[in-house]
């Protein structure tokens, strides 16, 4: 696992635009969140692929410290200063940062990526994720589900007999539960389910309410209304939650959190116990268990048949979550994987599986679609075309017939979900078949093909059965980005990255010094020989010191120091070469 340029293995998905207009990503962005809450984007995953008016998004809005506005197509846009961004653009900033980290570490360009998403993500959310990749200049060769990725990390390089396992994945914003069957390198997902609006952030929110409620009663001030104090509350809540995973009480201390008219500054001080926290979040834990039960039923597996239960996601560190999992599955969850890193490792394994050496198809992932795909039919009902838990890639046909003479077009409304009523399910889009042949009613049969790719993304195509000609289909209603918007955003991101390139003078010095270091390394055996033959070890030590200084300067991007080093190293190399040549001449 490659560390980022700050040396950490995890980069938080936080993006901020600082007051001076600079873009900050990861730990840097999180650190300044308190003083810049309105321009710091957290939890963008919850906005991905959501229409602005959707219930899911409207429910999330009040808890976000930044401003989200409606775009032209009922899409969500994030307002940062005088600019607004789509969720994929924000996501692309994180991806770009990771890409630059990897490029810095590996010294080569990164152009392809495997990206993980919650298993329960629907088509719109996956498409938005893929758009984010394109904006970041990455070809996303595959989107894989997080719990499945964790199972790859668990099974990779281990040899065990056929078995079934479950993955309990409670992350920051989402919950997934997946049951898999493992056999000779094949990872078959049997069933998956989840809740895209249940995660660690909801646990934090409970603590925030617990802190802010009594404060409101006593002082008449709702701390949640002020962006800055809300951000402080959230940080304190998250810290208290993490503390309570290892200790039984935690002190919350927030001085100068507000000021009351005439009464001066107000402070917030509270002591939270683990039992209290468990009490106020029990219903959230229960919600996860309900999902587990349903998925086990769909998989037709009972807990006793599972060889292992994997815990993934930071929120699974909470003792009450672990206790609940233990009680349902009557076993201790496995400790063999790292809940924070298993998913990323799994993605890397999938990348290797797809692009690795020829003819070595020893591992294979068989994942499923988490939602049923269907169309709206007369009466507002929803007709299922591909049921949930069908292995992907998959496709299904549906025959449409014209109902009018010379009918010019036909519309199909495609959705995802399990409800009998189309309106209760997630709308994927309205697909318009246009330019139909002129024929009497019933004279045109159109075979509509629904494809779900291995990424879980839906595409719709249509063929005129009588003529065999492909029928054009356009999407008329969708909150996703258009092709033009993606291209424009990718170009803007490219410009930003070019702007990030260090100034050419530094790059020039760096290249010169790197060349000198290489020459030194090549020259080293002869130098060592000369030192051994009587010139003494000092010349080696001097050179070594100069080289380490130069390496450090490159790493720290020490501009001025480096130009000095370039000169020094060059002089030193010349002198040493001359000395060695003289010594050799003398010796022979």
């Amino acid at each position: 696992m490659i560390p980022n340029r700050s040396g950490y293995r995890l980069t938080p998905s936080v993006v901020a635009v600082a007051k001076n207009g600079k873009r900050l990503v990861g730990a840097l962005a999180r650190r300044q969140a308190v003083t810049n809450a309105e321009r710091t984007v957290v939890a963008v995953k919850r906005l991905m692929g959501r229409a602005f008016s959707s219930r899911a998004l409207q429910d999330t809005l009040p808890r976000l410290p930044y401003t989200v506005i409606a775009g032209d197509r009922d899409d969500a846009r994030i307002q940062l200063g005088d600019q607004s961004f789509s969720p994929p653009e924000i996501s692309a900033m994180v991806l770009t940062e990771l890409r630059l980290d990897a490029e810095a570490h590996l010294g080569e360009k990164i152009s392809k990526a495997v990206v993980t998403v919650p298993a329960y993500f629907n088509d719109a959310q996956r498409t938005a994720t893929k758009d984010a990749g394109r904006i970041a200049g990455l070809d996303i060769i595959r989107i894989i589900n997080e719990p499945t990725a964790a199972s790859l990390a668990y099974g990779f390089g281990r040899d065990f007999p056929e078995r079934k396992i479950a993955v309990f994945d409670l992350g920051g914003g989402t919950f997934d539960f997946t049951v898999l069957h493992l056999f000779k390198g094949a990872f078959e997902v049997i069933a998956t389910g989840g809740d895209t609006l249940l995660g660690g952030e909801d646990f934090d929110a409970r603590i925030v309410d617990w802190l802010a409620g009594p404060f409101l009663e006593r002082h008449g001030i709702d701390l949640r209304k002020d962006k800055m104090s809300l951000q402080r509350l959230r940080d304190a809540a998250e810290k208290a939650k993490c503390d309570l995973s290892s200790s039984t009480t935690s002190e919350v201390n927030l001085p100068f959190i507000a000021s009351a008219q005439g009464a001066g500054p107000l402070h917030l001080q509270a002591s939270l116990t683990r039992a209290q926290l468990e009490g106020m979040t029990q219903d959230l834990v229960d919600r996860t268990l309900k999902v587990c039960e349903q998925v086990l039923g769909e998989a037709k597996v009972h807990p006793g048949q599972l060889a292992d239960v994997l815990l993934v996601g930071g929120q699974t560190r909470m003792p009450s979550v672990q206790k609940a999992v233990k009680s349902v599955f009557a076993r201790d969850p496995t400790k063999s994987i790292n809940p924070d890193e298993a998913v990323a490792l799994g993605a890397a394994i999938q990348g290797e599986m797809l692009l690795g050496d020829d003819g070595k198809n020893e591992m294979l992932l068989l994942d499923v679609t988490p939602h049923s795909l269907g169309i709206a039919i007369a009466g507002g009902f929803f007709q299922r075309i591909i049921p949930k838990n069908t292995v992907v890639p998959t496709s299904a046909h549906h025959l449409f017939t014209t109902v009018k003479d010379n009918q010019p077009s036909a519309k199909i409304i495609v959705g995802q979900g399990e409800n009998e009523l189309a309106a209760q399910n997630e709308l994927l889009g309205e697909f318009m078949m246009e330019g139909l042949r002129a024929a009497p009613r019933g004279g045109v049969d159109i075979d509509v093909v629904f494809d779900i790719s291995a990424d879980g993304i839906v595409s719709v195509s249509a063929i005129d059965v009588q003529t065999g000609l492909r029928q054009s289909i356009t999407v008329t209603s969708s909150a996703g980005l258009t092709e033009e918007e993606i291209k424009a955003a990718a170009a803007a991101n490219e410009d930003w990255m070019l702007g990030q390139k260090e100034d050419p003078k530094f790059e020039g010095n760096k290249a010169a010094v790197e060349k000198l270091i290489k020459e030194f390394e090549e020259f080293w055996p002869r130098l060592a020989e000369a030192a051994a033959k009587g010139m003494g070890p000092q010349i080696l030590q001097g050179a070594q010191a100069a080289l380490s200084v130069a390496r450090l300067q490159i790493e720290q991007r020490d501009h001025e120091g480096l130009s000095g080093s370039a000169e020094r190293l060059e002089r030193m190399l010349e002198a040493l070469r001359a000395t060695v040549a003289r010594g050799r001449g003398k010796g022979s």
Binding site: H181, E188, K300, Q305, L364, A378, G379
Partner: protein, 303 residues
């Protein structure tokens, strides 16, 4: 063009594709009709490693690319049908005529074994029901665990039987009753989907009387959507049974009053029965909902 795929896989793919629908699900997975659930799953996973498009990701496949993904999807569909006890039994029953002799025998044996298992369970039930007191509760607990195993192995029919016995032994235990309801509901759902599918297959091949029987079964099992009553009404019309068609359409309209397709079918039935007034009423309702409904307009004109 060079196809970047091992020759043996190329040959297998072309052989599968050439046989089209004439290849049985068992042959597709390379197993005999006597394979048990575990063997079916293992065969499917082994085959997937050879035939899943990801195993040949970004290889030059030419025309075999489409064949490869088609073949994998057929294997996945075969696996899905064969890994469920009920859909598999139905598949065996409907396709046995096309099986090889060995597979036909195996399918027959399996059907027999299923009957034998049911008889055995029945005897065991009688015996257990005669037990008394705490022994009954213990037996119920054991049966419940057993039923979960059966469910996991895709043997829903057996699980239902076992759970029913368990419930009789220990009626107070909620988890037994709940599990029974759940498994029964699932069983009905699977059978309904299967019946609907079979109805469509038979209707497409012009076998209307058998198709009607399948649609009727799907309605009985409350298949979701209005496809089953519409199919039944269509088949009845095709068979000239206007009264029957009217009845099926009416049944469908009870659940889906907004479904114009059913109303048009009802109107056709009334026209066949020479009940013009009723036909007119139905068609007027359709035209109220959808003024340009061509079929309704065409039917309405002569009336």
């Amino acid at each position: 063009m060079v196809i970047d795929l091992p020759l043996d896989i190329q040959d297998e793919l072309r052989a599968f594709d050439a046989r089209g629908d004439r290849i049985s699900h068992y042959e597709l997975l390379g197993i005999g009709a006597d394979a048990d659930g575990g063997a079916i799953r293992r065969a499917y996973l082994e085959r997937s490693k050879r035939f899943h498009p990801d195993s040949w990701y970004r290889k030059e496949l030419g025309d075999l690319g489409a064949v490869l993904s088609r073949t994998f999807q057929r294997m996945a569909a075969a696996y899905q049908i064969l890994s469920d006890d009920e859909t598999r039994a139905e598949y065996d029953r409907d396709h046995a005529a096309a099986f090889s002799e060995g597979d036909r025998t195996a399918a027959g044996l399996r059907a027999q074994a299923r009957k034998e298992e049911e008889r055995r369970q029945h005897e065991r039930r009688e015996r257990l029901l005669r037990s008394k007191g705490f022994a009954r509760v213990g037996a119920a607990r054991k049966l419940y665990e057993e039923a979960l195993e059966h469910v996991a192995n895709g043997q829903r029919a057996v699980a239902i039987q076992v759970l029913r016995t368990a419930r009789e032994l220990d009626p107070g235990r909620k988890e037994i009753a709940a599990k029974l309801t759940e498994v029964e509901r699932e069983s009905v759902k699977a059978r309904a989907a299967s019946a609907l599918h079979l109805g469509k297959e038979r209707e497409a091949s012009g076998n209307f009387s058998q198709a009607l029987a399948s649609y009727a079964a799907a309605i009985q099992l409350e298949a979701p959507g209005s496809d089953a009553p519409a199919g039944a009404a269509r088949c009845a019309l095709a068979l000239g049974d206007f009264a029957g068609a009217g009845g099926w359409a009416a049944r469908g309209l009870e659940r889906f009053p907004g479904e114009n397709r059913l109303r048009v079918l009802a109107a056709r039935a009334f026209i066949g029965l020479k009940q013009t007034a009723k036909a007119r009423t139905e068609l007027l309702l359709v035209l109220q909902n959808e003024p340009h409904h061509a079929e309704a307009k065409a039917l309405f004109k002569p009336l």
